[in-house]
Structure formats: C-alpha cells, structure tokens
C-alpha cells in the first residue's frame, strides 16, 4: 500500500480524439492497465480530462472504479472523499457510486 495520490489522465486512454468514454469493458481494461492495487491503495484519485471530452458514462466509470468503490465501502472509507471528479461529471460519478454499492452481482 503506497497511499500515494493517483492522477488518471484520460487522454492516454482514447484514440481518434473520442469525446466519449463508454462501456464497462473499456473501464475494466483501463483499470487493468492502472492496476486495481494502485487504485485501491491511492490516498486520492483525480482525473485529467481533456476539454473536448463531454461524456464519461457510468458504465465506463463502473468498470474502472466499481471494485475500488466496493473496497472503500468494505474498509469504511468514503469514495466521494477519495475520488475527485470534475464538477461537470459529478452526477454521473454519484450515480456510479450508488450503482456499485447497490448490487454485488455488478462486480
């Protein structure tokens, strides 16, 4: 556990300047690349999101952060305090937290 802050630069995880990040499978692939260990042990997770990106769908976030949100919950941590999402994507992120905590079969 390094408890280091982690910044996720989404520009590294797209091609064709796609303004949309969607799909659980894609989120899971990004999670694998970053590694679940780093995500779970980070003291803070923040995002660098290119200006032209307007869609960070909850399916993508669920694939990327679902397990980490469950990990936080299990360890009495508040995901909304650890994972910092820009304001414009906040409602999607809140939805993601709700969905990740709702049902075990999700993960």
């Amino acid at each position: 556990m390094d408890h280091q802050p982690l910044n996720i630069n989404l520009d590294l995880y797209r091609t064709a300047k796609s303004p949309v990040f969607a799909g659980r499978d894609r989120g899971i692939e990004v999670k694998k690349k970053i590694t679940l260990e780093r995500l779970n042990s980070a003291s803070e997770i923040s995002f660098s999101i290119p200006d032209d990106v307007y869609a960070l769908n909850s399916s993508f976030l669920l694939g990327l952060l679902g397990e980490t949100i469950k990990f936080h919950k299990k360890n009495g941590l508040d995901s909304s305090q650890i994972i910092k999402v820009p304001d414009e994507f906040k409602s999607t992120f809140e939805e993601t937290i709700r969905e990740a905590q709702q049902d075990d079969c999700l993960l």
Binding site: S18, A22, K32, Y54, L56, S58, S59, E88
Partner: protein, 368 residues
Amino acid sequence: MRLEIPQNFSMIENCEKTMDVFEKLVFSTNNNKVKKIFFNQENCRNIDLCAETVAAVLLKDLNDADRKKKINLSGHYPQDDDLMRIVCASGVTKYLKISNLNPQDMLLFELREGRRTKSTATTSTEKEIQSGKLIEYLDDCLNSCEWELKKEGKQYLSRIVAEILDNAEGHSKTSSWWINAYLKNTGNKTGECHLVIFNFGIPIYESMKDVLSTKSPLNGAITRLIKQHSSRKFFSKVWDENVLLTLYSLQEGVSSKLSTDPTRGNGLADLVQFFQKIGKSADKDPVMVLISGDVFIKFDNVYEMKIVTDNGNKRRQIAFNTNNSLMDPPDPDKVKKIKRYFPGTLYSFKFYIDNDYMEKLQNGSPTT
C-alpha cells in the same frame, strides 16, 4: 429480377410492403439464378430514410467485392425531384457510390457501419467514436437552426446513444450495426431530421425470453404479465407474447440484460422521451418506430412516457393505452405483430427542429 418499389417506401407508414422489398433482396442474395436486379423507384411518392438505408445495405452486400457471384444492379430514380435528391444524397445510390450529392439544404450523416471491437485500455471502441460523431452531428443539426447542445446535453445524449449501440452489438449476429441520418432544412430555422440505427441479429423478444430462464428480478413480473394477458384472452393475431415482451423491454429499468447489469435498460426510454420533448414542430409531432423481428411499435406522441408508482418505486412507463397500464393490451395501431419479419432490430426517428417551438420550450410554455 425487377423490383418495383412501393409508392410509399416507408418502414414508418407502410412497413409490410416495404419489407417485401427486403425479402426479395435477400432472396436474390441466396438465389444463384438471379444475375440482374432492376431497382425501380420511379413511382415512389414517399421514401423514408430507414427503408432506403436497409435497402442500401442489402444491395451493397449483393454488390460486395468479396462475393463470388456478381449481380448487375441498375434502376430508376424517383420522378419526384425532392425524393430523387434524398436518394442521391443519403440513399441507395450514395452508399453504392453511384451518386455523390451533398445538397446545401441538407446536413448529412453519411451511412456508416460500426462493428463490435475488442476493448483495450488505450483504444477507443467504435461505439465510443461513433456515439461521439452522432452527438456532434445532432449538435450540428441544432446549430443549423441556431441552437446548440450544452455539454450536459451532449453527455445525456451520449449515454443514450452508447446504450442503444451497446444493445445493437449485444443482439447482433454479425456484430455490425449501421447508422444513417440527414437533416433537411424546411424553412427559416426549421428542419426535419431522420435518424436510423439498426442491426441484423436476434429480435429483442428472443433476448427477453432468455431472461425468463434465469433468476432475474424481471422473471416473476414478466411471467405474471403473460399470465394476465393469456387468462383474460387478450392475445390475438396482432398481440402475442413476443409483442408483449418487446413492449415490456421499453419500460424504464428493463433490459434483456438486467440480470447481470442493473445499470442498463433506460437508453431507449430516455431517447424516446428526449425526442418527444424537443422534436416537435408547430404542426408536426416526432415519430419513432421500433421494429424487431415481427414486432412493430410506433411512438408518435399520442401516448407518452409517464411516471408510474410501482411497489413504492417511481419509474417511467409507456403502455400505449389510455390507462397507461401494462395489464391492458396496447393500441393495435401503435403496437402490433406484423406479417413480415425483420431479422434484427431497427430504430427509426423522424423529428423536427423548430425554432419557435424550442423558444417556447425554453421559456417554459411548450406548445402541445
């Protein structure tokens, strides 16, 4: 083979006769004796984009360079100038590269084929890329009438579009899906937009039937509903279990994949509501048609998505009857079994961008 295209070549208004044309095209694909096809649109009085697009994809398949058997394609354009321009700009001849018209009064989203691609960490999927392009296109349509989508609007729409494409990929036999759209300016700051998304694959009701064999929370509700309609003898030639399952799949929170993913199942409901809200004009309502297998569902603002309370939970529902109740059969003009079979699922949207209506909407007093 000479294919006489019906006067009303429309999946929205003349679905069965239009699908006859597709059946003949598929027959030609599988019949070695057919060497030539003459596609005669001369007498068409109405052509809608979805009919033209499906025909284009089927004809392209016949004309594919990889095919061993070559078929000679020819035909007549519609006599009507306006229809001819639509065909040249976004129909069969455009897709076959016979015509290359880009009229100034039309904004085109060229017909494109998407394909399920394997997800990787650093590569955007086709679904993400095309969702983005379609949102940009819809924004361009609004821009042409001096409106624009805010970032939140784009985010909202992208979620819906990505989910529809997700469903198209999930139910597709070929893992391909197609999108085509055009906007035609119809006056000062007004336009008529057609959008079609379809795939060839398993109809929605077949996927829904899989749910019945699982421990999905939907299972009990669907079984009760089927029993209700069966015991009250509601089922008929145009209203059967397959139609019921398809109608049920449209309700908020329902998806053929709900058993493994509760986040799915709102996309189509949201898209219908979006177009019902913003896609009106002063004298016309938006129309959306869903065709899956032999099920036809038409949304035209006669019946709207409304919030219902179910076991204390609020969700949106559209049952296409005056009580908005899924326990009663729907209006057979809007929801029915048809005599033809579309081997996949097709979504067709025809909506309007009307400056006057949008201004009223923005000021909180939309016309009805």
